[in-house]
């Protein structure tokens, strides 16, 4: 999630209010996705840059653009946390050697099976 604040808004509200609202909505949605889906992770770039503990040190003097050091801090954290998995494609689970699905709870894996179950039933 981007830590960059809005510069303008067509909402009719003050841009500070619009920024907080916009970020809050996005943060709530990303949080929900993270909690509901096992294949979604959340990278707290927003928190790293904007948190009070960062004392604004990652913003340029315009208090909007993120400094290179800020970007580096986020990316360091990202690669440290997701080493080896960050670039992994979200491919459907493969069958294991014994022919069973690696992740039997996966909805993706079930898609073909679902279609086949229906076709079999409705062909009769």
């Amino acid at each position: 999630m981007s830590p960059v604040p809005l510069t303008a808004t067509a909402s009719g509200e003050h841009v500070l209010q619009a920024t907080t609202y916009s970020k809050s909505v996005l943060r709530a949605v990303t949080g929900q996705l993270f909690h509901e889906r096992d294949d979604v992770d959340y990278v707290p770039s927003y928190e790293v840059i904007t948190s009070a503990v960062s004392r604004g040190q990652f913003f340029e003097s315009n208090l909007r653009s993120v400094k290179g050091e800020g970007v580096e801090a986020v990316m360091r954290m990202f690669f440290a946390e997701d080493r080896g998995t960050a670039a992994a494609p979200k491919s459907p689970p493969a069958a294991t050697a014994d022919g069973e699905l690696a992740d039997p709870d996966s909805e993706d894996a079930d898609e073909v099976v679902c279609e086949e179950a229906l076709l079999e039933a409705f062909a009769s």
């Binding site: 069958a95 022919g99 086949e116 179950a117 229906l118 009769s124």
Partner: protein, 254 residues
């Protein structure tokens, strides 16, 4: 003739197969099956007193399986199958949290009351409930809910295994059943839980009802190892519970 419309995910397949076995003995009942794999079901909309699909893609999929992409809502009863109702979401949720009875591990501990409340929220947001509310706008006929069957025990899920190991499988099954009852009651729907005698433990179905049992399990094709969908015998059992009840007026929700 009483007309029942069964709407749901691929789990309607077992009911269709079961119906083929018993329909000769039920000349007073007609059943229309309307379903598709789960992801294609969530765009069902009510237009001019008919349920239709929002996208051409979903409509094509429904037509492929059921021969139609549109059903009128003038049936004498509706039965909603799966569409998010079942233990799946509770099992998934339990990967992140544990209740008081479960052994300590790195999941977040929450109270039984909090867990129950969360399950009510999860199930209350299932598409089946959305669809029921949509139907309620235009009809007062009985609407039943049939949860997705649990996975066959000969195809154990890593997530359920973890729950069994932590002693949480009974807790989760019990809490989920209670949440389903409450959500159904609140929405004025009739819940037809998975029959106890088809279960093999709290969160599994007995393998004899698995669709795969009737297939060549030696095949390399993973479709022949389908332990998620149930067979005609299972579908018949469910229909024998549903059909004598679903048309009765006594339980029609106020």
């Amino acid at each position: 003739m009483k007309r029942l419309c069964i709407i749901g995910t691929s789990h309607i397949a077992a009911l269709k197969l079961g119906w083929e076995r018993i329909k000769e003995n039920c000349p007073e009942i007609g059943i229309t099956f309307f379903g598709a794999p789960g992801k294609h079901c969530e765009q069902l909309r009510l237009v001019d007193n008919a349920l239709v699909l929002a996208t051409d893609e979903d409509a094509r999929v429904f037509k492929r399986f059921c021969g139609t992409s549109r059903v009128m809502v003038d049936y004498d009863a509706f039965l909603l199958v799966d569409l998010g109702i079942g233990t799946h979401s509770a099992v998934l949720f339990s990967q992140k949290v544990r209740t008081e009875e479960q052994s300590r591990d790195d999941r977040r501990p929450i109270s039984d009351a909090c867990f129950a409340s969360a399950l009510r929220g999860l199930l209350g947001n299932a598409f089946a409930l959305d669809l029921a509310r949509t139907l309620r706008k235009v009809t007062r006929v009985p609407i039943g809910l049939v949860p997705a069957p649990m996975r066959s025990s000969d195809y154990p899920s890593p997530r359920v295994k973890a729950l069994v190991n932590s002693g949480g499988d009974r807790t989760v099954a019990r809490a989920c059943a209670q949440a389903m009852r409450e959500v159904a009651a609140q929405a004025g729907l009739r819940l037809y839980p998975q029959p106890d005698h088809t279960l093999d433990g709290p969160l599994y179905t007995s393998p004899v009802y698995s669709r795969a049992r009737e297939r060549d399990t030696e095949s390399e094709d993973i479709r022949n190892k389908d332990r998620n969908h149930m067979n005609a015998q299972y579908g018949e059992i469910v229909l024998r519970v549903v059909l004598p009840d679903i048309f009765s007026e006594a339980r029609v929700a106020a």
